[in-house]
Amino acid sequence: MARENYKAEQLWLNSFFQEIKTLDLSLEAEFEMRRAGVSLAELLDVFASGEVEWADRDYDGCSFVISGRNCDDEEIKIYGGFCSEIEMVSVMQIERVR
């Protein structure tokens, strides 16, 4: 039910994430991608089609948790934020949900 609260963020984020211009990856996210075998293409597909589980808007963007499925139907969760002014998406951590 909590996801009902994020309809606006959902619409905005999914359209914004169709074409990400700059992607900022933390070292932790890179490490987890390598460990869990999550590729950049999978990450971008989750961004474009995933559901916003939580979001918190601030003056120049928002922080979010997005979850979605890759082409093999495995759930991936992304924790991050984005800045609309410079069109940059930051990925703080990712998680492959088993």
Binding site: T22, L23, L25, L44, D72
Partner: protein, 199 residues
Amino acid sequence: MAGLDKHICRKIHVRECKDYDASHLIGAPFPVTLTGGVLEKHCEECNAKAGHILKNPRQLTRMVAVARACDDMKLNGSEVRFLRKSINLKAKELAEKLDIDPAHLSRIENGHLAISVVLEKLVRSAVCLSFLDEARIVGMDGSSILSMNIPSVVCSSRIFSLDLRLVEQNNVLHVVGGERSATVSSKSWKDDCEPKIAI
């Protein structure tokens, strides 16, 4: 207890990252080295790495998939899986497109069975048709792939690797050079790519 104080990186700066190994990030089962197009974040105080910034990541992943699809070195199972994932198809969906049993595709992807030349050309064509702009960059189209001379067996002494040199102009990545190489033979893109790149 002062010795136990943990340094917290606050002054994060970015610098150009030269020769970034992107294979793990892209999920490619072959080495991918990027020059340009990637910035490295680091702490100005302790010089520790804090991560990387990628320009146009979507273009980048497409470019790598197309580069592999357009190289005539035989695909192994992991590479078939990589190409399938790059076009965001489930194994079942690709098997349907190839008109084969999903179990057959699974055996190919797991390396229990070599992919036939005909199926391989269909997989490569699917990638190039999905990413037409990137395919044009390497001068490939459907007919070039169908007429490609692919060996019927995987040569274990040859390893595909990709070296891309990228520059960013107006938020668009341009490939200013690149090299596909193998341990036995190599093929340079330098002459091909420089004049006509425009992703």
